[in-house]
Symmetry: C3
Subunit: 364 residues, 3 copies
Amino acid sequence: MSSLLKEIRRNPLLWLLVFVPVVLVAEQLELESHTLLFVLSVLAIVPLAGLLSHATESVAAKTGDTVGGLLNATLGNLTELVIALAALRAGQYTLVKASIAGAIVTNSLFMLGASFLLGGLRYHTQEFNRVGARFQAGLLFLATVALLIPSAVAEVDTSTGTKLTATLSLGLSVLLIGAYALGLVFSLKTHRELFAAVGGEASHEDVLPIGVAIGTLAVVTVLVALVSEVFVASVQIAAESFGMSPAFVGFIVVAIVGAAAEMTSAFSAARKNRLDMSVGIALGSASQIALFVAPVLVLLSYVMGPAPMDLQFWPGAVLMVLIATLTAALVTSSGKSAWFVGVLVLTVYAIFALTLYLLPPLTS
Amino acid sequence: MSSLLKEIRRNPLLWLLVFVPVVLVAEQLELESHTLLFVLSVLAIVPLAGLLSHATESVAAKTGDTVGGLLNATLGNLTELVIALAALRAGQYTLVKASIAGAIVTNSLFMLGASFLLGGLRYHTQEFNRVGARFQAGLLFLATVALLIPSAVAEVDTSTGTKLTATLSLGLSVLLIGAYALGLVFSLKTHRELFAAVGGEASHEDVLPIGVAIGTLAVVTVLVALVSEVFVASVQIAAESFGMSPAFVGFIVVAIVGAAAEMTSAFSAARKNRLDMSVGIALGSASQIALFVAPVLVLLSYVMGPAPMDLQFWPGAVLMVLIATLTAALVTSSGKSAWFVGVLVLTVYAIFALTLYLLPPLTS
Amino acid sequence: MSSLLKEIRRNPLLWLLVFVPVVLVAEQLELESHTLLFVLSVLAIVPLAGLLSHATESVAAKTGDTVGGLLNATLGNLTELVIALAALRAGQYTLVKASIAGAIVTNSLFMLGASFLLGGLRYHTQEFNRVGARFQAGLLFLATVALLIPSAVAEVDTSTGTKLTATLSLGLSVLLIGAYALGLVFSLKTHRELFAAVGGEASHEDVLPIGVAIGTLAVVTVLVALVSEVFVASVQIAAESFGMSPAFVGFIVVAIVGAAAEMTSAFSAARKNRLDMSVGIALGSASQIALFVAPVLVLLSYVMGPAPMDLQFWPGAVLMVLIATLTAALVTSSGKSAWFVGVLVLTVYAIFALTLYLLPPLTS
């Protein structure tokens, strides 16, 4: 417990934890101001995501490389999953999909680009393990194909479209989870030596004791779930009062809030010239959301949602995921980086953000 | 003749040749069961394709590198060409186009991916000549552009579309055949040393004598043509009774039947760590169909078909060819492979197969 | 002045300067023949563009690397800019956009491909600095994304589309100019050593004295502007009488006329085995038009045009720019070239040219 308190004292971000009780009390008081609830829930989710990520890494560090890798690979985006589940249960499928696509785009463009830029401002050129980047880019490409196909098919045929898309999405989800599982066997088991640099540098000195870590994991997940309810209920109305389009909210705001903790790690690694780790976090997180979180949400929608969710995304979102995947594949293929690579990637992200900001509300 | 019999004894696949007379007799008897005719014709085409491929290679081996290379480059996909011609004469243009697109996709995804997987299950990592892969991927990319353009133009303008598409397809066919011919000059003549590894390993020990080989070539081509008539006449109705969509039949079934012989060679080479040869067969076959077989069919449609055929494909097919080309280019660019690369490529193929299987019948 | 005359005597292309007074007089006489005016204006623009390019390089050579690089980067496509401004002032936005897209495609396919082919016909294989090619391809990719997005958004929503597209185009223009400016800082200042080979070889021996160069720059720009007026006014009608579609004129004819001077330099460098310089001119020119000329035209349209111009292009043009960018990225990624690479790239260009030639007139 004292190690947890030490962690909190050390990391100013965690001081925001004070907003967790505040937002939960505010919700009980049935405040009318959605804007206030939204701001409070964002301020509460960010430190919770940080704690969750730290606890996952601590458990992973104690359980050895393979089990630890598996844990990171399944719980690494727990925050995104819990927020999306809250939106799923509320039947807000447009928000769920926007947050999935947005998380892929934000991780593979904003997190990657800002890491390149921040690292490049300190070091003239930087190098990283391109085998790892290639592997993650390959997984991302696969997920992009799986998102492209239902959208393309839906265009072809509108009459039998709905039922077809549902069956297709179910099958694609199983294929994606299968490919993700085999990818874990490849990277953690049969060919782990290829990914050595990334794993080796990821070890932290200040891990939590295993009991504290598991306890933190359980308690914080419940807290994230509770705060996510408030967040999901308030985000759309609050966004409108800020003049943002719903697409912008799902794609940019939710994605950045969900990934805030990982961004802190990725950026700090880039500033320490450990770009392997930054690229690993950014692309690993993107491919995990695309091949694990998204299909799991489709499967869970049959149990928890008001209706089955499919993998058919808004064509604009599919285009953005496609461009993000291509960009990530192109800029990581050389294994080298300089500050302008970061500028290029961030400008692609800025083009998306600007477009989404100006976009009028869509109906689906 | 005895060498032919020895070959038949050595290769169990050729025992299926017994189905050739069976299917031809069955057709004469005017059997009502299309399903039976379909199964018999598939069983007859597979060994014929194997013989055809073996005879072509034997002639090629006897006539020296350049002429032999030319023969392989023009007759290497004779089975696909003969099947497509049967469909062309029957006016089944949708089937012709589906089988062209399907052959490109099946060769560049299924044959390539399965070679990577089968080789990777035996060897930790494998290497191959990436200049050859790059060359074939470049040709495939060119063909993809030629397929994209008429489809994009047809969307723009529907009134004058038909005539425009016909003229355009004719022009594009000439351009593609020209590029293919120059590619042969490049790979067989001016820069053959860059492709050395592929050609060097392709030499077989057990070639047929030249007379037997040419005789086999002639006789087997006629037999393939006869059986293809049965195949084309029965495939659609049989497929429906198996519950398959016409798109699935053209794309997957016809393509796999047509390429069965080459697949045996590609897979066996991969298991012997001669991945150069596997990649060469898979991508070489795909680019040959795209740049030679498809345009030749367009030109022949003016002579043999009920009406001119164009290069305007169903948008979903164009998308799949585009993704297959991109996938092949990305996974071969490093010149290295491991089993998971095969899984990635095969999963892309599985996504296509699943989508086509679920697709309702299209009208054109 | 004598150095200018020496230059004119040395370079037979400049003898065409005689057509400058001819075309201006012909216009004053209010000739009825648009075809004649068109041919005369083309013959006059080509040498003027050559002089302009030579004068810019001379000023650049005198002012040191950084300022010189800046000058080349802003005035390098002055001819294209002046022609486009003439079309802009005439309200011919379709022609402006076609000439922008056409210039990108012509530079990155025709100029690049012909350089590869011409160089490859003399040398077995050639090498070039792939860092420079990568940088330019990255910039081009960014511009392609910026062109894709407004077209995709416009499809989504047609009611609020116009206003949205105008605002979006303005924002994207600012982003592109910003990225271009940072790219100059990167290539001319912080990481100039990476681009050394290109810059080093670009130095000419026969530069004009600074006074003559600046004078030439000023006078020739005015002359180009005057002749461009005639060119823009006559090109459409003349094209029709030649049987060319407006899309073909804007994309191919205007683009080749505008880039004629740079092509001479790129081709002659390729024949001297200085492929670094050819690739630099071709891709540098393409990215300059995409990230500097196009956005500047959008901004200037608010001041000089009858109405604001947006960045929403005809979908076929966007597709062609996308394919051209991908092609350039793929063929330059290895840093090596042989004649067939040129054939591949030129065939892609031929596919575009053929399609545009056959295309019926579009309304927008």
